[in-house]
């Protein structure tokens, strides 16, 4: 499970030893930003109000930072093991914009809470259109 930045950075060596990768994007977002998810309530409202960030990175994958780590990990993992299966299992897995990003990264699957499965089915189709 790839959920801390260091794992992304050493993805090549882990991939050589593993059969699949799954990004835990909740923890990866926590550890990349250094935000404690349970404590964002105290400062996120100020962040939004002052336009520090425009979307909640726990809701929509932060492509710029977290996404860059993911992209690096996918590239290195596939270089080490071409056919390695890669997916994500954070709550982002059911969020349309993040699903679109997963497609761009070339992932094999997304995993989300049961209620979000129908949303993900549609969003994953729209990415192809």
């Amino acid at each position: 499970m790839i959920e801390v930045p260091r794992a992304c950075l050493v993805a090549e060596s882990i991939a050589k030893n593993a059969d699949f990768f799954s990004f835990g994007t909740n923890d990866l977002t926590q550890t990349t930003f250094g935000f404690s998810r349970d404590d964002t309530g105290s400062f996120f409202p100020h962040y939004f109000e002052k336009d520090i960030i425009s979307t909640d990175p726990f809701e929509q994958i932060d492509r710029e930072g977290v996404g860059k780590l993911m992209s690096l990990a996918v590239k290195d993992a596939r270089a080490a093991k071409n056919k390695i299966s890669i997916g994500i299992c954070g709550e982002h897995g059911g969020e349309p914009n993040s699903i679109s990003f997963c497609k761009e990264l070339g992932l094999d699957y997304v995993s989300c809470s049961p209620y979000r499965v129908p949303i993900a089915r549609l969003a994953a189709a729209q990415v192809e259109l």
Binding site: M1, I2, E3, V4, R6, A7, V10, S13, I14, N17, A18, D19, F20, S22, G24, D27, Q30, S36, D39, G41, S42, F44, P45, F48, E49, S54, D56, F58, E59, G87, I88, C89, G93, P96, I99, C102, K103, L107, D108, Y109, V110, S111, C112, S113, P114, Y115, R116, V117, P118, I119, A120, R121, L122, A123, A124, A125, Q126, V127, E128, L129
Partner: protein, 756 residues
């Protein structure tokens, strides 16, 4: 700069723009142009391009050449209609905003421009109705004073707005005269009210109300441009993430009147039902009325189609014309439209068409119906429905008849979609206490803060009197998919005495209310809710089956129990992407065994306690793997929030100390050793498996036990084992080795395909 190219004329005879010029003409202007191109009856006029808005906002005034150009376009309108602006047969104009993206109600409109002391007598003569003319005049004065003089020019700094002042004066007049509503007002009443309004304007702003038609027109145009940067519009844009640079277009159009007697009327309609999606003409109209009367709710509008007072029965000719337009528009746009129309002397005029907003359920139904009707392709249907509309269609909603039979007590901002009901509580503590017992509660607060999170979690819905769509309550509710209404200004909470007033209704703690988080409405009592089932064959299933053929990404689910798996399978999941094993230990009996295990003094002791956990785990995995037969299931090895396991109450402590054969002091010592200052970065994930390899081994055994049993039964479990929180290769290898050892040991018993 040549302004000529920036003004686009439209009429049934000649039209410069079309529907594709949304960026230039705004949504409204582009669709009006398109309707003209289709030959539909649209009052002539012209659209000032959006780029003129930024020009205006930079300069703060309309240039001389632009004014000249506006004048020459007014002359073109005069020619089409054979009337004149400020002349003998007076032409009246409307000025409306229209941005490239829909911003409903955020910007301004001014009607009846061109009524002056000169044109009023001529209008009375032409229309034959003094009452109508003065009614129109007082509307003009009010809109102009509010939008142009007060908001755009900022002349009045007082809190008591001119619009409120004027509304109050109208109410007072009606009260003194004993009138029930506006329709009792006579020509004389409107005339005298108009005079009072004129005095009020001069007194409030220090300048008279403009009595020149072009002064009115230019003032209104500037004000509509300026409304792009009004407070409401800016807030809406920032919330909806709409760029501020696009600006609004301005539509200047000849007025048609729905309030010129019983042969007139006005209405709004959807070409299909916007809440259910059914292919029926759906809308409302009012005879002898102007557009705002339909929306304002002073008079109860009648249905377009139906028995009593419907447009189809009262004015069949106009209805037939409208029904033809409905079909033509749908065929042309290939989509459900939201239209506005006016009927003057039995003649139908189209004022607006746009893509109709619809509920999630309707979006799905319309898209699939249109495929059947061969209006759009399956691909287009998949493209058209927004993923969040699917989410919305699965939420709880209030039964439509309940909405019809119950008037809302109040209204706030719709912050979290879906409906919910519950008994009112005024504190997060109470919400948690009752919610834990399975009671349905609605948390009612002035606003929420992070300290309320625990209570919000246990609430069905959240209602606040303050805050906007990005307030704490709104963000949290949307994150959790809870229904939420915020900023309900008529809600006054008296926390000390545990009651609140919503408008005039007193609500005590424990009273039931129902929230509609999609509309912002609040109802008293428990309204019937319904939820669309997904696993029935229906439009949603059909649409998703088309989507499945297009998509390449596989969709799995996060599921920790066989029940989760079953639900996800009914939603179309193709495997489990994350099965968390820590939740399996939260059960009261198991948590005790788990604690004994983590508080053990030695490996040997730990193994004894782990053995007790093994059958539980085997049973859990058996259930999940059975449900997911043949599909991949990714099981994550234990990643426990250790701190949650060691918050132990005195009773539990006593039991632990007797079971472990230790004094409670000794147990507390061991608990203390496990306490961390930063648990999220502490002893969790594979770190735990490295400290206690026997946990990893036990979990592997449990999984293998379950898998082998299923294989014996002829099923084919597919397990992928996942090692959590890896940051170093050696962490991974150490855990993998434990698992592989277990697997090798078990291999002689049976064949199993394992990956991780």
């Amino acid at each position: 700069m040549n302004n000529k190219q920036k003004i686009y004329f439209f009429s049934q005879l000649q039209t410069d723009g079309d529907q594709h010029m949304v960026d230039t003409l705004g949504g409204k202007g582009a669709n009006i142009a398109e309707m003209c191109k289709l030959g539909l009856p649209v009052p002539p006029g012209f659209t000032l391009a959006t780029s003129l808005c930024s020009d205006y906002l930079k300069k703060g005034s309309l240039s001389v050449s632009l004014k000249k150009n506006i004048k020459s376009n007014v002359i073109k309108v005069e020619k089409v209609l054979e009337k004149s602006f400020g002349g003998d047969d007076p032409l009246l104009l409307s000025v409306r905003s229209g941005a490239p993206v829909s911003m409903p109600g955020m910007m301004e409109t001014i009607l009846n421009i061109g009524l002056t002391s000169q044109t009023i007598p001529r209008m009375i003569q032409k229309s034959g109705s003094e009452r109508f003319v003065y009614d129109s005049y007082r509307r003009l004065i009010m809109m102009y004073a509010d939008v142009v003089m007060e908001k755009a020019l900022g002349l009045n700094k007082k809190k008591y707005s001119i619009r409120e002042k004027m509304e109050d004066l109208l109410q007072k007049t009606k009260k003194t005269k004993g009138y029930k509503n506006d329709s009792f007002m006579t020509a004389k009443d409107w005339k005298s009210l108009s005079k009072k309004y004129l005095v009020m304007v001069e007194k409030t702003f220090g300048v008279p109300f403009p009595d020149n038609q072009y002064e009115q027109l230019f003032g209104a145009t500037e004000a509509v441009f300026a409304s792009w940067n009004g407070k409401r519009a800016r807030e809406y844009r920032s919330f909806e993430k709409i760029s501020s640079s696009m600006g609004t277009a301005v539509n200047i159009q000849a007025m048609v009147f729905g309030n010129l007697g019983s042969n007139c009327g006005t209405g709004v309609a959807f070409t299909r039902n916007p809440s259910t999606g059914e292919n029926v003409f759906f809308g409302e109209w009012l005879p002898d009325a102007q557009g705002e009367d339909v929306v304002a709710g002073i008079r109860t509008p009648h249905p377009i189609v139906g028995k009593k007072n419907s447009l189809s029965s009262v004015m069949p000719e106009a209805f037939n014309a409208l029904n033809r337009v409905r079909k033509q528009l749908e065929k042309h746009y290939d989509d459900m439209q939201d239209i506005e129309f006016t009927i003057q002397d039995k003649k139908l005029w189209m004022l607006q068409t746009r893509r109709g907003k619809r509920s999630g359920i309707a979006a799905i139904k319309i898209a699939t119906d249109m495929v059947e009707e061969k209006l759009i392709s399956k691909k287009e249907a998949v493209r058209r429905v927004k993923p969040l509309q699917i989410y919305e269609s699965l939420l709880k909603n209030i039964e439509p008849e309940e909405i019809e039979n119950n008037a809302p007590l109040g209204r706030g901002l719709p912050a979290g979609p879906g409906a919910s009901f519950g008994s009112v509580v005024f504190s997060a503590e109470k919400a948690e206490a009752l919610g834990k017992k399975g009671k349905k509660v609605i948390l009612v607060r002035e606003e929420t803060s992070p300290e309320d999170i625990h209570g919000m979690h246990y609430s069905e819905g959240i209602l606040t009197s303050r805050g906007g769509l990005t307030s704490h309550a709104a963000l949290v509710a949307r994150g959790w998919g809870k229904s939420c209404v915020v900023g309900c200004q008529t809600l006054v909470i008296n926390k000390k005495s545990a009651f609140a007033k919503l408008g005039n209704t007193k609500i005590k703690e424990g009273d039931f209310i129902t929230l509609n988080g999609s509309s912002g409405e609040i109802f008293l009592g428990r309204l019937k809710l319904f939820q669309n089932p997904i696993n029935s064959s229906g439009p949603l299933n059909e649409l998703l089956s088309w989507a499945d053929k297009i998509r390449k990404l596989k969709i799995r689910t996060n599921a920790d129990t066989p029940e989760d798996c079953e639900r996800a399978l009914s939603f179309g999941a193709e495997g489990v992407g994350l099965c968390r094993t820590e939740h399996m230990f939260f059960d009261e009996k198991r948590v005790h065994d788990f604690r004994k295990m983590i508080l053990s003094g030695s490996e040997k002791e730990r193994l004894v306690h782990l053995k007790k956990l093994l059958p539980y785990q085997t049973k859990d995995f058996y259930g999940i793997l059975k449900k997911m037969n043949g599909m991949p299931v990714t099981v994550r090895l234990l990643d426990p929030p250790l701190h949650e396991f060691i918050s132990i109450n005195p009773k539990e402590l006593k039991l632990l100390s007797s079971d472990l054969g230790l004094s409670s002091g000794e147990v507390e010592e061991r608990v203390k050793l496990l306490k961390e200052s930063n648990p999220m970065l502490g002893h969790r994930g594979c770190r735990l498996g490295i400290s206690y390899p026997e946990i990893t081994a036990m979990q592997t055994r449990a999984i293998l036990g379950a898998a082998f049993k299923l294989q014996k039964q002829g099923l084919s479990p597919k397990v992928e084992l996942m090692i959590p929180l890896v940051s170093h290769l050696n962490e991974f290898v150490s855990q993998k080795n434990i698992v592989m050892r277990r697997l090798r040991r078990a291999k002689n018993k049976t064949q199993n395909n394992f990956v991780f």
